[in-house]
Symmetry: none
Subunit: 215 residues, 4 copies
DNA sequence: CATGAATGAGACTTCATTCAT
DNA sequence: CATGAATGAAGTCTCATTCAT
């Protein structure tokens, strides 16, 4: 049931918090992560100073280091939590859906929300600031990323097998990753085209939509 | 004639050099631009120091500033020349082609080469380091970018009108920009899949060609 | 009362500090300003490096920028505080004096002390490093300068009207500015001639006092 | 005869050139010195780059060093020639004059012309850029300076003995040096007050003018 | 836990000077 | 003599990080 999503989301995210995989946005650490995700996403990691981060949550720059060991540590945490959150959200989104097309659309919509959403769901950071992460950080995140990508590959594999898409899942997912994350640079959620419209168009690009909407 | 491309490319690029729009890679300035494109592309603009750039061409850091006013100026020049070069290459690539599918494939292949090519054809810099460019620089490049994108939109419009693609050119181009530029992070030209294979797959994603060209 | 000057000075300068127009020399910022005034005065602004300034107060060069935005900002602050301090000191010096000659002598003595004094009263910086100040800085200081010069012009006007001097106040003040500020290059306060002697001679130059006070 | 001054000046300066003490302004070296005097005077030595100097005479920066060993050498030469020229001009100016007042006025007028004159007669450089000169340079110039100042002291001594001025020559000269050189910062030769007017006023300041223009 | 002054390495940039052409 | 690319030392300034309070 699509309409029950928000409540379910809250519940699942709450479980992640309880498990220590996600930080409560009500805590200083949580506010810091949220602000960091936003700033890293909009200005880029290198161009964001710890003073920017501190100012964004109303503390002094020195206090940042009571919550995180280093700036790099903040980036790592943002990415880690983003993956945890989005993996959970994606699983929720396809839960109960059977139709390959609907499942694929759900994932696309979910990822677009993660990219565009201003509430710390900073998928774009994960994509565009990857190189800014230290090597240790990259190794740490890589494992989580595989789990996240596993969800995608499952759904794409199903779509491939049913003929909905014709490009192999592995390649298709990577092309799609680029296509979706790039939307942050040009898509305006307040514009004429809604985020759902955009998701539909992205799906249309992947699938042979000509069959579905014959002219 | 596809086989005559290399020679023609040389000729056209030579003309651009003569017009002052492109720097001869044999000159110090040209070598610097090439090295910069490579480093900006692989490490990112902010993480590349002017000492890195100087070392890459075997000069001292201070000598950089005989050729460029500032580090930002180098980025601007890399972008500017990249657009000039790629606009010319794209026009060459579709010259004489009539079939919408072939034309679209040619553009995709051309852009992929620009993204992956290590010889200063740093399309990815243009895409990923955009925010690193100063505002004045951005304004300067924007005009050129429109010309470049104009070529794309023409070809996509034709594909749209003939039913080859079903997503509007404007949106489709932006999704494609992301998909193609992102390939730099994962595609290995020396791997099993060739760059031409990749181009075919990207086209297939857009057009659902499987239905039209059944195997 | 001449003998009460030192105490009054302390009081008035204390008020300026309370008003935020003067920095307490006991604070790091105050020590920095004092050292800067001294170095700018003795070596010149351009030949003084921020490392010199830092070394003079025993901190690292980077720490300077916690107190001032830029080197130019330091110069601006030195000038600003110098004007505030000296305007106050001049007003104090002529307070209660009626005789035009005594008033003029008081101002001259006061300015000489400001020029020669090593405790941040760097009038000479204001005069000789003016061109080193950025244009914005110059505009900022100009207003304050007018107030300071206003005190001088009042006293000179009175001297002019009473026939004590015969050159118009406007021209005379400028000639005097040069004459007095230049003393920093040749006058030795520890030498035979005292600072008060020098003030007397300067006054004598202006007023041809010999005729009025025959020996 | 005042009206014969220009011709005489030419002749004497020509002799200095022949003696190698002055460089012909028609030569590259001469043009360079003239431009340097002008730029040092208006922008200051430190803020004037060798590129500025080169540009001012239409050559490349590297070519400067065929004429001078270093930038410091240029400053030294400017000062040296300025003293030679002005010593000669001053001697010419008082030649044949007997009256102490006329002699003093002649010197003042002469020095003002040297300060304001745009043709390399950069007395102000000598005064304001003194600290920029290397120590060796300062030693070299000091001797010449004494000769120049000797002319002044002679005239001031005579004025002192005749009661025209009442301050000792030594002190008076130094006060006057400051007063006159500072005029470069505020006096506009194209303004209402002519340079001769200014000279008169400066003299009036020094002498007991009240006697001459009784109210 | 929070503060904010201090650190110090390192960034970009300038500029007098050299030297092969 | 002139050029102009190259040098390299030194300049100002930034910023992640530390630590005494």
């Amino acid at each position: 049931m699509q309409h029950s999503a928000p409540e379910n989301n809250q519940k699942v995210l709450g479980e992640l918090m309880a498990a220590g995989l996600l930080t409560d946005p009500a805590t200083p650490r949580g506010r810091l992560l949220q602000a960091s995700a936003h700033l890293f996403s909009s200005k880029g990691f290198e161009r964001t100073t710890v003073r920017d981060l501190a100012a964004a949550v109303g503390i002094q720059s020195g206090s940042i280091f009571h919550h995180f060991r280093s700036k790099d540590d903040i980036l790592r945490a943002v990415m880690e939590e983003t993956i945890h959150r989005n993996t959970a959200l994606m699983r929720m989104a396809i839960e109960g859906l059977e139709d390959p097309r609907e499942r694929l659309l759900a994932l696309i919509r979910c990822e677009l929300q993660s990219i565009m959403g201003g509430t710390g769901e900073a998928m774009s950071v994960l994509v565009y600031e990857w190189r800014s992460l230290s090597e240790e950080g990259q190794l740490l995140i890589l494992g989580l990323r595989d789990i996240y990508e596993g969800v995608w590959l499952d759904v794409l594999q199903q779509a491939y097998e049913t003929g909905l898409v014709t490009v192999e899942p592995f390649v298709l997912r990577r092309l799609l990753t680029g296509a979706l994350s790039w939307t942050i640079t040009w898509f305006n959620p307040q514009g004429q085209m809604s985020l759902d419209d955009l998701a539909e168009k992205a799906l249309e690009m992947l699938t042979c939509s000509a069959n579905k909407h014959p002219i």
